[in-house]
């Protein structure tokens, strides 16, 4: 049996190294043998071999849906994939509270909002509110955190002004809607507003949402990005870590 080649990591179907991929797409043509051939040529044109058009069916008026299987030899060099990881030892909420008490000496002040027109508060609430997420209590429950949850559809200037007023240490932004990359535009808005006001280093800036990666967040000038499955204690631990770093610098 072939062994896994990490320097050219390819998908696995049922034989190591087979490069097996499933695809589906719609073409703006009615189903026909010609359409099927076109689908096959299309996928072969993308560089796949052993292309099987497993399914073609009519969709609505003038469209066809295809399910296609193929193989690719073109892998990725896994050894060279570098991704900033949000590491840090996993702490539970009592440990974090204790550390904040002893090392920071006062509650950390955080403020969160869905900016722009985003009204999806479930994710943000999961992090901030008492109840928390998946059995992990929210920041509001911590003695070590003072939290303000501004909720949905908050304009950037309103958020920042409130952050100043509340003397926040960290701003937490939630971005769920990603249609036409609106989340990226909205994320940029926060950073450029802070820059404009000369506040870019004042707050720990954290963002979260289903299409956020830590990498993306860093690229856009945030301190951290959290995504699906993020737990309040992960976020708390990160903020604590960053607070300690900042404190270290100041000292």
């Amino acid at each position: 049996m072939a062994s896994i080649v990490t320097s050219n990591l390819v998908p696995y179907g049922d034989t190591t190294g087979d490069g097996a991929v499933q695809m589906s797409f719609t073409l703006p043509i009615e189903p026909s043998p010609k359409a099927q051939e076109a689908a096959s040529l299309l996928v072969r044109g993308w560089g796949f071999s052993d292309v099987k058009v497993a399914h073609m069916s009519k969709v609505g008026i003038g469209y066809s849906f295809f399910v296609v299987f193929g193989r690719s030899e073109k892998g990725v060099n896994y050894d060279k994939v570098i991704v900033p990881e949000l590491t840090g030892t996993k702490l539970d909420y009592k440990q974090i509270d204790r550390e904040i008490l002893t090392k920071i000496g006062r509650p950390i002040r955080v403020i969160g909002a869905n900016t722009g027109f985003d009204a999806h508060t479930v994710g943000l609430d999961a992090i901030l509110n008492m109840k928390g997420f998946d059995g992990d209590v929210g920041l509001e429950r911590y003695k070590g955190f003072y939290t303000v949850n501004m909720g949905s559809q908050v304009q950037v200037n309103v958020l920042v002004e409130r952050a100043i007023k509340e003397k926040a240490d960290a701003i937490l932004v939630s971005k769920i809607v990603t249609q036409k990359d609106i989340h990226i535009a909205d994320m940029r808005d926060v950073v450029s507003y802070l820059k404009k006001k000369g506040l870019e280093d004042k707050f720990i800036l954290v963002v979260g949402g289903p299409r956020i990666t830590h990498k993306l967040a860093l690229e856009l000038g945030y301190d951290a990005g959290f995504t699906i499955g993020a737990r309040p204690s992960d976020v708390a631990a990160f903020i604590l870590k960053r607070m300690l770093e900042r404190k270290g610098k100041k000292d």
């Binding site: 469209y63 027109f117 479930v122 559809q153 809607v177 699906i228």
Partner: protein, 525 residues
């Protein structure tokens, strides 16, 4: 062990819920009686056919807004627009269409001197009659255009409902026509993100939207036309839906009615809880919008399904049920027949829970029994969907089955890509095929299954009903607005003075405010 077609729900408890809801409805009626809103006034203008728009720095701003803005500016809202339109007609000697022209040309009716009230009131009444006639004629016109077509609402299985949401009305037309070709029976055009917070209705055909397409009169017309076109081919009547909850609740109802929409998502609670709209504003708007729906045969669709997205749906069944009773009552007060009340609920429990299918079945069946005449709007699971589109499709299958087994009125079909993007054409096709298979395959099931009277399912449903009684009692005790302030619904707290659009509400007095449409459209308030 005994089994029966129905769950053993106490009719006394159900009746008790309805009687408390009636009292809560009275609280809402008080608000309605003593307020109007800029939205209602604009809706009246829309019914009068004032539907043009003026270019204001690239933005098309509706004439209806301009007129209401003028009146507001001059402190003239308290009489209502009908009064001032009549006044302007009397003053200028213009008939309505000439007046419309003058308005387009820049006439400010806020500044015209006030004529004699009795005469103005009389003309206002005639205008109201004309508005209603206009409405009813348009409704009749749309009704005629579907003559001879098969109406799937007559079938012994749920209607299949899908959304289109490309942001571009022309892409939407492709997607909507495809959807109905693929088996869908109700098409909803989702609005662009945050349109509900706009205090005007955008104008014309639009091609730019985020996560949805603007609800505009022209977009409504285009979509109605497209569905009629396929309808004629298929000899089947396809229903069209849009969304009216929001700051333009009444106005969109008016536009929807004029353009032949069949259903409207219509729920003040949705605006309050999920769009942070001022509670009084939207409750008052809601009444007028429902009057219009009642008149035009439009099914109102309520938004209780959404409560299950911000709470644990296993636990929020009581608040959903309580809200449905309240919605039923406020709709009755607006003359909406039971058959036009598509009360909302959803399958939103965490699919990983043990016995989740039993609990969902229990809740769905309970709702079906309590509101036997409602074309219940049953919404698929969305919150627990992930990017695993296959598992998502599995969940939708379960949803379709529960919907079919319990005879829901309308299934808001799930999409495999629910957690990823607004649907692609293929997502919609897969979703429609899934549902068609299930509702056809399960046809007749409603009359086949029995439930164990002392079983888990019966018990679960009974508990939800018991909790709903208690919750309604509590809401009544503390007051409806207070209950909203306390986060009784969807775990969301909204103060009565807060929220968007509060400035658009104004108090009215019987002697001063003129709007005969309330009575003409059968308001019970």
């Amino acid at each position: 062990m005994s089994y029966a077609a129905k769950l053993p729900l106490s009719t006394a408890k159900i009746a008790r819920c309805r009687s408390i809801a009636k009292k809560i409805g009275d609280d809402v009626a008080d608000l309605v009686r003593s307020h109007s809103t800029v939205g209602i006034e604009r809706a009246v203008l829309r019914l009068l056919g004032i539907d043009s728009a003026a270019d204001r720095g690239g933005l098309l701003y509706p004439q209806a807004n301009l007129v209401v803005d003028q009146l507001a500016e001059h402190g003239r809202l308290q009489e209502g627009v009908l009064y001032w339109i009549a006044n302007a007609m009397l003053h200028t000697g213009n008939d309505l269409s000439a007046l419309k022209q003058s308005l387009d040309d820049g006439l400010d009716i806020g500044t015209l001197p006030e004529r004699k009230r009795t005469k103005t009131e009389k003309l206002a009444k005639q205008l109201a009659t004309r508005a209603q006639k206009n409405l009813l004629e348009r409704v009749a016109h749309h009704k005629k255009s579907r003559k001879g077509l098969h109406d799937p609402a007559g079938q012994a299985r749920p209607l299949l409902y899908q959304i289109v949401a490309t942001g571009n009305i022309y892409e939407d037309l492709i997607q909507a026509k495809s959807a109905v070709k693929d088996g869908v029976e109700i098409v909803a055009v989702i609005r662009s993100t945050a349109q509900s917070l706009l205090d005007y209705v955008p104008h014309g055909a639009t091609t730019e939207g985020f996560g949805g397409t603007y609800a505009t009169q022209e977009n409504f017309r285009l979509m109605r036309e497209a569905l009629n076109e396929v309808g004629q081919e298929e000899k089947k009547y396809f229903r069209l839906t849009n969304y009216s909850s929001g700051l333009c609740m009444a106005e969109i109802a008016a536009l929807g009615a004029l353009e032949g929409l069949d259903c409207l998502l219509n729920d003040a609670m949705y605006g309050i809880l999920f769009r942070d709209i001022n509670p009084i504003r939207t409750l008052v708007d809601q009444h007028f919008s429902r009057l219009i729906c009642a008149q035009s045969g439009i099914w109102i669709m309520t938004g209780e399904d959404n409560y299950m997205k911000t709470t644990d749906a296993v636990k929020s069944g009581d608040s959903v049920l309580a809200s449905q009773f309240i919605n039923e009552r406020t709709a009755i007060n607006a003359n909406v027949p039971l058959k036009q009340m598509a009360l909302g609920h959803a399958m939103e429990m965490n699919p990983e829970y043990d016995k989740v299918i039993l609990m969902e079945l229990a809740r769905a069946q309970m709702t079906r029994q309590i509101f036997p005449e409602s074309p219940l709007k049953y919404m698929c699971n969305t919150k627990y969907k992930t990017g695993d589109i296959f598992t998502s499709h599995t969940i939708d299958t379960v949803f379709n089955m529960i919907g079919a087994f319990t005879g829901q009125g309308t299934l808001l079909l799930g999409m495999p890509t629910e957690a990823v993007h607004t649907p692609w054409l293929q997502d919609r096709s897969l979703s429609a095929r899934n549902a068609t298979y299930i509702v056809r395959g399960a046809e007749g099931m409603v009359n086949e299954l029995g439930f164990r009277s002392d079983g888990f399912i019966s018990k679960f449903a009974q508990d939800v009903l018991d909790d709903a009684v208690k919750l309604l009692e509590k809401i009544h005790r503390i007051g409806f607005l207070k209950a909203i302030e306390k986060g009784v619904f969807a775990d969301v707290k909204r103060p009565r003075t807060g929220g968007k659009g509060a400035s658009g509400v104004f108090p009215i007095e019987p002697g001063r405010y003129v709007n005969p449409l309330y009575k003409m459209m059968g308001s019970r308030i």
